[in-house]
Symmetry: C2
Subunit: 346 residues, 2 copies
Amino acid sequence: MTAIYPVIMCGGSGTRLWPVSRKAMPKPFLPLVSDETLFEQAVRRVAGDDRFAAPMVVAGAAHADIIMAQMGDIPGARLVIEPAAKNTAPAIALAAALLPADAVMLVCPSDHHIADASAFRAAALAAAELARQDYLVSFGIAPDRPETGYGYLQRGEQLAGGFAIRRFVEKPELARAQEYLASGDYSWNGGIFAFRAGHLLAELAVHRPDMARLVAEAVAGGRDDGARFHPAPVPFAAIVGDSIDYAVMENTARAAMVPVDMGWSDIGNWAALADALADGADDAGNVMRGTVDLDGCSGVLAITDGPRISAVGLTDVCIIVSGGEVLVTTRDGAQAIGKLPGALNQ
Amino acid sequence: MTAIYPVIMCGGSGTRLWPVSRKAMPKPFLPLVSDETLFEQAVRRVAGDDRFAAPMVVAGAAHADIIMAQMGDIPGARLVIEPAAKNTAPAIALAAALLPADAVMLVCPSDHHIADASAFRAAALAAAELARQDYLVSFGIAPDRPETGYGYLQRGEQLAGGFAIRRFVEKPELARAQEYLASGDYSWNGGIFAFRAGHLLAELAVHRPDMARLVAEAVAGGRDDGARFHPAPVPFAAIVGDSIDYAVMENTARAAMVPVDMGWSDIGNWAALADALADGADDAGNVMRGTVDLDGCSGVLAITDGPRISAVGLTDVCIIVSGGEVLVTTRDGAQAIGKLPGALNQ
C-alpha cells in the first residue's frame, strides 16, 4: 500500500486569538494547548509512521522561516510558498499538482487541536481507502454541542469505512443545530480532507476551470529552490479565491465522509481554547497561564505573558495579556475579537 | 466669628483601589475623579474663604513630601507627622492638642470626593455653630442607596442647623439598610466632623483616658521643625489605636449631626469610582481613561496607564491596568480588592 501524503495548510490571519496570535505569528505557530505549537502537533501527528510520507506544507512567505524552524529536519519534507492568500482551494490544488497523480493526499489544517492522534490516524487510513476509490473525502467530526459556527455534513449511504455525504449545511441557526445534534445524522465539517491528487485536479477542472488552469500555470512557471517551491506569482494572483468546499466538495457527485471522534477543536476563539484546556482547569473551571490570582471566579481563562492578572468575581470571562495588549471578553464575545481595532490594525 | 480650622486627615493604606493606589502613593494623592487629586480637592474646598483658617494636615512620614508638593505654598498651613498609624482618634486628638482650645476644628478625610463644595461649606458652617455649643458633630450624608458598607446615624431631636444623634449603627445587613433608606431618618456617617478642640480633648479624657494622656505626652515631647510637627514617637507608639467613632462619638451625650447632600463618595472601591465618574460615561454607561476599545459593553470602568484595553461583551466590570498590573473585577468583587495578593504584597 502506498503512503498517504500529508499536506499541512498554514493559512489564517491571526486575528481571532489576538492579542497572542498576530499576523506575524498566527495561531498555528503558538504553543496554545501544550508546549508544542499546533503546527508542531500537526507535523508530529503523521511523523514516525511509515504509512505517511514526509509532509508538504503550504504557507505564505511571511511564515516560511517559522515553519522551517518548527518543522525541524524532516527528510523529504517540502514547503510550498503561496504567492498570495487565495483561500483553501488554490492552496490544495497547488499541493495536488506537485504530487504524483495517484498519490493520496491528506489535507490537514495546522491550526486545529486533536487530542486523540491515533483516532486521527485511523480515520486517515479509512479516508485514504475511500480516496483511492476516487471519493473526495471529508473528516466528519463527531459534534458534542449544537455549534452554530461550523458547517455540517449529513450522512448518506454507507460506504466501506465511511458514508456518502448527502448534504452540506452552512453554519446553522441554533434550533437547527440542536436538531442536527439530536439526530445523530450530522457531523461537523472539520476541514480535513483526503483526495487522490489527480482526481482532485480533475474535479477542480470541471467545477472551477479557470482556477485549475491558473494553478497549473503557476506550478509550471514555478521555481524550486530545493527546500521551497515558489509558484509563479502572476497566474496565481489572477485566481479568484474560493474554499475547497465551495469550489469542489459541494459540487462533486463523489463526496464522502469518514466519521471520527478524536477530541477535535479548531481553537477558533478564546472560549474554544478554554474548552480545549479544560483538563487543566481548577475545581471552579478556571484555566491559568502565567502569574494569575483569582478570587471568586469560575470558568475564567487567564493568560499572561508577564504582567500579573488579578481577577475577582468573574464568571466565564477570558482575560488575555500579551505583547502590551490587554483583552477581556465574555465567552460569547470571543467570537468578535477579530473585529477589534487591536486585532485589525496590527 | 472666629474661623474654622480644617484638619485634613491623610491615612489609609492604599489597597482598595490597587493597582492604581499603592502604599507609596495612596488614594488621596491620585487624580481619580478629575485632574486634581482628592487631597488637592480637600485643600481647595476650604481655601480662599476667610471663614476657614489655613489647613492642618495629619499624615504619615511616608507621604509628607507628596503632601508638601500637592498642597503648594499656603501661609499658615501645618503638617503633623503621625509617628505611627493609630486610626482616627489619636490623629484627631493630635490636631486638637495643637490648636487653641476654643478653635472649632473641621476634620476632613482627604480621600473622599465631594461634588458640591458649596453644600459642603454650608454644612461646615452649621456644624461649626453646633460645635461652638459643645456638640460633637458628624456630617450626616444623605444616602442614595441601601449601602451596606457604611455606618449610619439615626436622627434624634432637632437642633439649630442639625439634629442630635439618637443612635450609631454599624454596617447593616441589606434589608436593614433598605429600611433605613426608606425611613428618611438615617444618614451615612461620612467621617467628617466638627469639634471644639478643647471639648474633644475633654471628652477623650473621659472615654479614653490612656489615649488622651499619651497624645498629650506625644505633643508635649514633640518637635516642631517649622513646617512640620513631629509628636514624640514613644508615647504615641504606646497608644491603643481606635476610631473617633468608637473612642468618642458613640460614648458622648452630645453627639450631633448636620444633614448634608453634597454628591459625596468615599471612592471606597473601583465600583464607587465608576459611580463618581458616571457623568462622563458613554451612552452605555462605560467610563474610559486611556486607550480603550469596547464592543458590546455596558457599565464598564476601564482605566489604563499605557497598554491598550480591549473588551467585548462585558457588563458591570472594572478593568484597571496600572504599573504592570492587570485587575479585572465585577462591581461586587471590587469590595475584595484589598485582600488580593497584589494589593497586600506591594
